[in-house]
Amino acid sequence: MIKNNLKNRKKIDSIFKVASKIITWSSLVVLAVLLYHVSITGISKLSLDFLNNFPSRFPHKAGIKSALSGSIWMLTFVTLISVPIGVLSAIYLEEYSKKNRITRFVEINIANLAGVPSIVYGILGLAIFVRFFQLDRSVLAGSFTMSLLILPVIIISSREAIRAVPKSIRLGAYAVGATKYQTIRHHVIPIALPGILTGVILSMSRAIGETAPLIMIGALTYVAFVPETVMDPFTTLPIQVFNWASRPQAAFHEVAAAGIIILLIVLLFMNAIAIFLRNYSNKKYDF
């Protein structure tokens, strides 16, 4: 027998709807309050001087130049190191490797590595790059450490992008006498590229916001110069912000807020590129 419980079910329906609405909006409100607070505190400190000055003992003189350039230096080398390694590994795993126990083991461990806390990569970087290879607390040591951190994410997202390329395209290429390399080079990579780039940029965003591993390998918190070679010491935006925020003077908290705004602008800009690329890819290849 079917009970007429429609009224009850509709009630549950509307409760669920309201509950999910509240949860969504409450988290958005928290974010908005945070952004508002940071903007109000930091906006007065934002100026060209702030971008052009080195950190200082005096809040009104303190600027973000060394941190911003340190971040850019690091990000450049992280890109140069992690993108080729990550994308080529993804191509190997997805296109060339035989599916056996060893490759499955590698796959599972890459996924695991993506979940390892960043501080652990810091310890690893300290042991390998700073101590063993004697790179000291340089831009290069920081870049290698950060590359290790984001490599798993790049590999996983690139593999997904490559896997999403329809098999029929590959078969079509083979059917006109293409080699595997030609198929990958002319069809798979171009089609997967927007997806690969999206993954790359999102992991770059992660790299620019990470602090713990860099503090672990001994990136400095007070740097009054811009790195000129890869072997120079450096600092980055989040480290600088952390440094300012942990000072007792209230004026420095304003400087920290201004630093956060700069960091957020860089991050939002990178995410915007990722979204743009994703939409672009959806439009171009509609299978």
Binding site: A175, G177, A178
Partner: protein, 247 residues
């Protein structure tokens, strides 16, 4: 005789997909492979240009002779072989590039050094698509209709100047009008090419082919002249299938 199978057995893992197949495919004729779903039609077709090589569990016993040479011989390079034995797939699969680039890509990567524009024009004309696309060769191939895309894929295969074109249910994703156009095209193409076509549409086999091969559960039940096979099938199973009693 251009293609010949000799005691051919095809396997997926331990499952036998084709059992002891011995057929001779005539040059410049259309041979249709018919049979109910899962009888091994596509498997047989795809083994002819070694497209099954991409399936890990696939294995073969016996021989497929193309110009008297076993194409599964270790001396034969599959990439090289596919230049001579082209393929058109079930679902149109043009590359997400321009119409022009779709045609010329195959010859280009194989070292073609001739008049590219001429080759594109000839191939598109042979595929009966030229008049529809001649003013927009640089448009994306994905802007074409399904039927046009399939003819583009045929043109892409033709551009390689193959000896044989394999067609794996080329009309199953198309409307009746596009199907009719492609069937007319197939009849025309037999002048220059040997065509093997897999179809689950018996009327289509009767309309376009010179020879018909009826497969059932991996066995060749009957193979012969199309008109003869459809009019007086020797085998009871063939008769049941073509009269629609099963399948």
């Amino acid at each position: 005789m251009i293609l010949k199978t000799k005691n051919l057995n095809l396997f997926y893992g331990s499952t036998k997909a084709i059992n002891n197949c011995n057929v001779n495919i005539e040059k410049n004729k259309v041979t249709a492979i018919i049979g109910p779903s899962g009888c091994g039609k596509s498997t047989l077709l795809r083994s002819m240009n070694r497209m099954n090589d991409f399936i890990d569990s696939f294995s073969i016993k016996g021989e497929i002779l193309f110009d008297e040479k076993n194409i599964y011989d270790s001396k034969i390079d599959a990439t090289e072989l596919r230049k001579s034995i082209g393929m058109v797939f079930q679902k149109p699969n043009p590359f997400p590039k321009s119409i022009y680039e779709n045609i010329i890509w195959g010859p280009k990567i194989n070292g073609f050094e001739g008049d590219k524009d001429k080759l594109v024009e000839e191939s598109l004309k042979d595929a009966g698509l030229w008049d529809e696309v001649k003013n927009r060769l640089n448009d994306s191939a994905l802007s074409l209709s399904g039927g046009q895309q399939q003819r583009l894929c045929i043109a892409r295969a033709i551009a390689m100047k193959p000896n044989i074109i394999l067609m794996d249910e080329p009309c199953s994703a198309l409307d009746p009008k596009s199907t009719a156009i492609i069937e007319t095209l197939i009849k025309k193409l037999r002048k220059n090419y040997t065509i093997l076509i897999v179809t689950h549409n018996m009327q289509q086999a009767a309309r376009v082919s010179d020879f018909t091969l009826f497969l059932y559960e991996g066995e060749v039940i009957e193979f012969g002249d199309t008109e003869h096979l459809f009019r007086n099938p020797k085998n009871k199973q063939t008769e049941d299938y073509i009269t629609g009693r099963f399948g």
